[in-house]
């Protein structure tokens, strides 16, 4: 089945220690997104790619970076995680034609 896979499902990292979350897709979608969702809040768009074209949201902290080496994979790098970065991180894909997103199951990040 075509899908979006996020690894790992749960990630625990130490305060200040770089961490990378990964997302892969078999849908061949052009667009990939990273959202951050804190408890009981709306998912917040961090950045997205149209193919290799990177688009950062204006209020996304510099601490968050992303890489998309090819169509299938996209990574979220948090250079120095703080306690406030603990959240669910959702990866999603869509085609240029639209029809909504396909989401991964998310990675829940804990910072200790």
């Amino acid at each position: 089945d075509a899908m979006v896979i996020q690894n790992p499902r749960y990630q625990v990292t130490q305060f200040g220690k770089p961490v990378t979350l990964s997302c892969s897709q078999t849908l061949n979608h052009n667009v990939m997104y990273w959202y951050q969702q804190k408890s009981s809040q709306a998912p917040k768009l961090l950045f997205h790619y149209y193919d290799k074209d990177f688009n950062n949201e204006a209020d996304t902290p510099d601490n968050f970076q992303s890489r998309r080496p090819n169509t299938s994979f996209c990574f979220l790098d948090i250079r120095s995680p703080g306690l406030g970065d603990a959240a669910m991180y959702l990866c999603a894909t869509s085609s240029l034609e639209g029809n909504g997103y396909t989401f991964g199951s998310g990675t829940r990040l804990t910072v200790v």
Partner: protein
């Protein structure tokens, strides 16, 4: 500033009755609206959508109504089933293809049998 608001954090409904989930938005440039459903430990899944040129879209038990003048949309589920218990997210896009979505905080729906 939240552009998409779901003011009811939770809703409890008896099985067989109607569930009505509400969503308000502030950005008049939004052109496309969607509802997503999320079960625990899973990612959100697409449920139903509506373009700004319509005021109603129906898919089986699910109907979405859009009132552009009030900047309000609602999702009706009739009849509600216990399997509908989930978190429902309202989302909106300025792009007609539904990309770059802005989400609400979600409403937890509990359908009691």
């Amino acid at each position: 500033d939240q552009q998409v608001k779901q003011n009811s954090p939770s809703l409890s409904v008896q099985e067989g009755r109607i569930s009505i989930l509400n969503c308000d938005y502030t950005n008049s440039m939004f052109d496309y609206f969607l509802w997503y459903k999320k079960y625990p430990a899973e990612g959100p899944t697409f449920l139903i959508s509506i373009s700004s040129i319509k005021d109603k879209n129906e898919d089986g038990r699910f109907t979405v109504f859009l009132n552009k003048s009030a900047k309000h949309l609602s999702l009706h589920i009739v009849p509600s089933q216990p399997g509908d218990s989930a978190v429902y997210f309202c989302a909106a896009s300025e792009e007609s293809n539904g990309n770059k979505l802005v989400f609400g905080a979600g409403t937890i729906l509990r359908v009691k049998s």
